[in-house]
Symmetry: C2
Subunit: 152 residues, 2 copies
């Protein structure tokens, strides 16, 4: 995640054409965001990824591990580790797939939902501060554009 000074960074280099490169802008905003998010989630023993898994486990959508891997752009083996960790801590559990007995469905426990609610609140504060330069409307606009870019 690189060296991240707390003092406001003077973006002398943003003038370069690269400052228009969507790939870099995404990488940069993602990097600084991850740092803040992970810091905020540390109080709950979570990181960005385990939080994502927990969120989906709490969603009622009953995702399989394969779906989690696809949705989160992770290798299936990484999902195994994440779920192992959450399961050991009693926040989620593996249930057998309904149509497919190979698949395992990840569902949250009551404790998992409790932790999730707290963590989510903390993350929202965090996200707001990350995007504080954006108005409420621009914030929503950004979300919509990202979603559209991903899923049309």
């Amino acid at each position: 995640m690189g060296t991240q000074s707390t003092k406001a960074e003077t973006p002398r280099l943003a003038a370069a054409k690269i400052g228009n490169d969507v790939g870099l802008l995404l990488a940069k905003l993602h990097a600084t965001g991850s740092l803040l998010n992970n810091k905020a989630l540390a109080d709950y023993g979570l990181r960005e990824r385990s939080f994502s898994v927990l969120t989906l486990a709490c969603s009622g959508l009953e995702p399989t591990q394969r779906e989690l891997a696809d949705f989160l752009s992770l290798d299936p083996s990484q999902v195994v580790s994440l779920v192992d960790d959450l399961e050991h801590r009693g926040l989620v559990k593996r249930a057998q797939g309904k149509q497919d007995r190979r698949a395992k469905i990840i569902v949250s426990t009551a404790e998992g939902r409790r932790i999730h609610n707290k963590a989510r609140a903390a993350l929202e504060v965090c996200e707001r501060s990350q995007l504080e330069a954006l108005s409420e409307e621009e914030n929503a606009q950004l979300r919509e554009l990202l979603k559209k870019a991903l899923w049309g």
Copy 2:
């Protein structure tokens, strides 16, 4: 970057509240983008990061390695590796800092600029396909929002 199927992903899980989490949206778009970008840059022996460094080296802004690290959200030691690689291939060179003799300024060679132009063209095609769900106007809007979020 995890398992990435070529077939269109059915975003069943996007319905979850997490589909509104800016952090996840950024991570996801960045992940899929990186994959495509790196594939496109492979023809030139570059990756996203070395391309970024090369771009800044070509910009005329005469960045120091420290500035590169800050701007690209990398550890200074990672910049050393990236510059080492580009320098060995004759695409950039290290010059002594003007005011500060500790610092090293990274500048492009003629060959570096040649490669950069080709790579940039390839990346633009790639980026356009990544954001094909967005209109030209939305594309520009996304850029502006990301820049504003980063630098106000």
